[in-house]
Every structure is written in C-alpha cells, then in structure tokens.
C-alpha cells in the first residue's frame, strides 16, 4: 500500500529581484512594468511513492531540494504543479523545536507544541512523564527555554513529535544535532516506531546513517529526481559520484 504518493511535483519560488514590500515600490514597479521575478524551480517533476512500512531515505547535496520536498509532503508548501497524497497522520520533524516559544518554560512548551501537532491536552498529560524521561530534562522543566542549549531543545522536540504513533514520520537532518548518545536514542526510537507500522522519511547528510537505517532511497539533484531504488544501489551510485 502506498502511504505517500508524489506525482509530478514541481515547486517554483519567485526570487523577487527587488523586494516590493512597500506599497509605493509595488505600484512604481507595476506602473513601470518592472514587476517581474526571477523564477527558480527548487523541485522539478518529482515522482515517487513511499510504501507502508518503508524507511525511506532522501539524499542529495545542499540545495538539491530535500527540505523543500519534505515541506511539500507535510503541507507547509503547496506545490506549484503536481499533487501529493499522504494517508494518515504526519508528524513533521522539519526542524526540532519549531514552534517553541523561548520565553515559556519547557513544561508550557510541551503543551503548546503538542497542540501545534494536533494532540489533545489530556493525551499530553498522560504522556508527560514519558516525554520528560526521554528528553532527560527533569530538573529543568520550569526554566524558560531560552536558557536551554540547542541540543536540549532538540531532545524535547523529538520526544514530543514521536510520542504518538504517527502514520508517517518526516525527519529532516534532525539527528545531526545533539551528541551521539542522543542520536543513538533517536534512531532506536525510530526503529521502534517503524516496527509498529510507522512509515519514515529521513533526510541526513550522513550517508552511513542512511545506509544503516533505510530500505529505500531517493536521490535528488538540483531539484530533479536522479535515482530511486533500494538503498545499496542508490547509495553506491551516489558515493561513486561524490567520492565518499
């Protein structure tokens, strides 16, 4: 069964040459007929499917469109062309700690962020201890988040997003923050979720991590899908070109 179907997706950004953020500039440019943009395709005609239970890897150099693709899948961007279909709930880990308010305490943020992800306060309450335990921040719960290190924030973010059993988990280079103990812990958690039926999409700049975890990989290059297939084939081809 296909959990995610990506069909012919293109994503165009208008890079405004002269940003017309003020009305006056906008009208001046419109009158002078200068209101045009540099068009830039971050994704072009990308098509592939992710099946249920897949641990799907996404590789490519910086700027190849990986993050953009994940945002299209999770609904942050509406694609310029093409369609995406996702079955079930998505837990997006585009950037750990997105949606945290640095002036609130960790406890308050857990509730706020949980509801951002569509959880009910009751559910968060039930799972509160589990979240705290996973993030190992028991002693800091009532400290404003601005006093936390980025690693600590990432831990809470990961703990909240993975507290449910989402149908699809999307992770964008999140495992690069935090120490190796945390990374191991996260990988374990993801494997655990997967055994229980969650479909994963993982972006990582560590090809070893992809090889270790994923069963299928897609390779993006300058917004186009260069290759998609089982991990070994794609990663070997990738390594050959990028000489790792």
């Amino acid at each position: 069964m296909n959990m995610i179907e990506i069909e012919n997706v293109s994503m165009r950004f208008n890079l405004a040459r002269e940003k017309s953020e003020s009305l006056k500039e906008y009208f001046l440019q419109m009158v002078q007929g200068k209101l045009h943009f540099d068009e830039f395709y971050a994704l072009r005609n990308v098509t592939f499917n992710v099946e249920k239970g897949d641990f799907f890897g996404l590789i490519g150099l910086n700027g190849s469109g990986k993050s953009t693709l994940l945002k299209v899948i999770s609904g942050v961007y509406k694609p310029t062309e093409g369609t995406t279909r996702v079955k079930g709930t998505i837990a997006p880990l585009i950037e750990l700690g997105a949606g945290f308010d640095m002036d609130l305490t960790a406890r308050e943020n857990i509730y706020l962020n949980g509801t951002v992800l569509g959880l009910t306060p009751k559910y968060i309450q039930e799972k509160f201890d589990e979240i705290v335990e996973f993030s190992e921040l028991k002693d800091f719960l009532d400290v404003p988040l601005k006093n936390y290190s980025s690693g600590m924030i990432a831990r809470i973010g990961f703990a909240i997003a993975t507290i449910t059993q989402p149908d699809v988990l999307i992770a964008d280079e999140i495992l690069s923050v935090g120490d190796f103990l945390f990374q191991e812990k996260c990988e374990k958690r993801m494997q655990h979720l997967r055994e229980n039926g969650t479909t994963m999409i993982l972006v990582s700049h560590s090809i070893q991590q992809i090889e270790r975890n994923c069963n299928k990989v897609a390779w993006l290059e300058k917004g186009r899908l260069k290759m998609v297939g089982d991990t070994k084939t794609v990663c070997d081809a990738y390594k050959q070109i990028h000489q790792e």
Binding site: L23, G75, A98, E108, L112, T115, P121
Partner: protein, 269 residues
C-alpha cells in the same frame, strides 16, 4: 457553506491550540509586569479621568444631552480600543508566526483568530474599569445590560473579519501596518467617543457629520452598547441589523480573501 464547514472542522481539531496560544499570550503579557491585570484596568481609567476633566471644562456635556459623560466616554474608549487592538495585532499575526508556519502545517487563520480572541479577553478585563466608573458615578444598573453581549460579540466577529483581511494584506505589503495606524486614529474621531453627534445643534455641517458617522460600523457597536448599558433601553431593530450584518459580511469577505491567498503566504514571509 461548504467552506464554512471545513473551517469549523479545522477549528474543532485545533481548538486546544487556540486555547494554548491565548494562554501563552496571557502569561507573557502579565507574568512580567508587577501590576499585571491591574494595568489593563488602570490605563483606561486614568485616560477616562483625564478626558472627563478636559472635555467637561470646554463643553457642557449635560446640555449636549449626555447624562453621564464618564460612563458614556469609557464605553466608547473600551470598545474602540478593543477594535483597534484586535485588528492591529491580528494584522501582524501571520507574519510573526512565520518561523512556525515555515515548518509545520497549521491552519493559518488560527493566528488572527487567536489575536482577536486575546484582545477580547483583555477587553473583558478592562470592563472592570467600566464597572468602577459606573459605581463611582452612581449610574443605575439596568437589566438590559445583558443585551450588551450582542454588540460585543458582533464587534468580535467584525474585528475578526477585518483582521483576516489586514493579516493577508500585511504579508504582501508591510506598509499597511503604518497606514492602518493612521486610519484608526482618524476613525476614532468619527466613532463619537467623546461627543454625541445626535445631540449637536443642527447645522448643515453637523447633518453631514451625522450622515458620515452612520456609515461607520464601529459607531453602531458603541451606540448599541451605550444604549443597553447606559440608557437601559432595548436594542433597536436597526442596531440589531447593522451590527449583525456588518459582522457577518466582514467575516465572509475576510475568510474568502484569506483563503484565496493563504497558500502564497509562506513564499512571502
């Protein structure tokens, strides 16, 4: 109608988020200031005293047909500043949530809705100032006070509609924030906050002013509110209609405009 249903379903799913966001604003606003909630009472109260002193020395309010000028004034102040605050913060709400909206999917109208709701909460607190003024000036308490909910709720809907339109505009043109500021300052003088346009001597220019003011929805909300709280009368059918229709039309236009452009927001933030 279908659109409305979709909004409602979304709303149901994210109601806790709304609740938590309002809670956050509340905590952040009141946690740090020592006087806390007292400020939102004290501020209109002090303004009221100053304005009462100034205006009663330059004009005779009683002869202008205003029985209790203090109460008359503070109702105008409070409702107008609710409208002003609600629309102004709603305007910047989508932009200031950019970091979040760029990373997770959330229905975007949550943010203007949250800001207008938070302004309403603030406004309810500041009604303590109204009560104080009523007690001090020995204003009689009429049963019709309950009817004040109608102008208040319809003003909420009206502000939400305007807020949605402004929030959309602000994403594309940051200038709108300054323009709106100028506009509301001008609007304040045409909302009859410290005078009664119907009580002025009739002259061609006053007639024109009366006509002009009657096109200002905010004036209608304030007048309806004053009528039931201060004069102890029922709402007129004109008030019921104007308040209701302005609110609903603003909301529908707001939702349509917002919906039309919301997919482009992330690309402009």
């Amino acid at each position: 109608m279908k659109l409305f249903k979709a909004y409602c379903q979304d709303f149901f799913r994210y109601r806790y988020l709304l609740y938590n966001l309002v809670g956050r604003d509340f905590k952040l606003k009141y946690r740090r200031s020592v006087l806390g909630v007292i400020w939102s009472v004290l501020n209109p109260l002090l303004m009221n005293v100053v304005m009462v002193i100034v205006f009663s020395t330059i004009m005779d309010m009683r002869s202008a047909g205003i029985k209790n000028f203090s109460v008359y004034l503070i109702i105008g102040q409070l409702l107008f500043s609710f409208f002003n605050e609600a629309t102004s913060v709603a305007m910047g709400s989508v932009l200031s949530s950019a970091p979040l909206l760029r990373k997770v999917y959330i229905p975007k109208y949550i943010f203007p809705l949250e800001k207008v709701t938070f302004s309403l909460v603030n406004c309810l607190f500041s009604f303590i100032a109204l009560i104080i003024v009523m007690v001090v000036t020995r204003a009689p308490l009429h049963l019709t006070v309950i009817l004040a909910l109608y102008p208040l709720m319809t003003l909420f809907v009206f502000s939400l509609g305007i807020g949605l339109i402004l929030a959309t505009l602000a994403v594309f043109f940051r200038d709108i924030m300054h323009l709106w500021n100028v506009f509301t300052t001008a609007l304040m003088y045409f909302s009859a906050i410290f005078y009664d346009p119907m009580g002025l001597q009739t002259s061609p220019s006053v007639l024109f002013l009366q006509k002009f003011i009657s096109f200002n929805p905010v004036y209608w909300y304030i007048t309806a509110f004053r009528g039931v709280v201060l004069d102890g009368r029922l709402l007129t059918s004109a008030e019921i209609l104007v308040c209701g229709i302005c609110g609903i039309v603003a909301l529908i236009v707001g939702l349509l405009v917002f919906r039309k452009y919301q997919d482009k927001f992330v690309l402009h933030m």
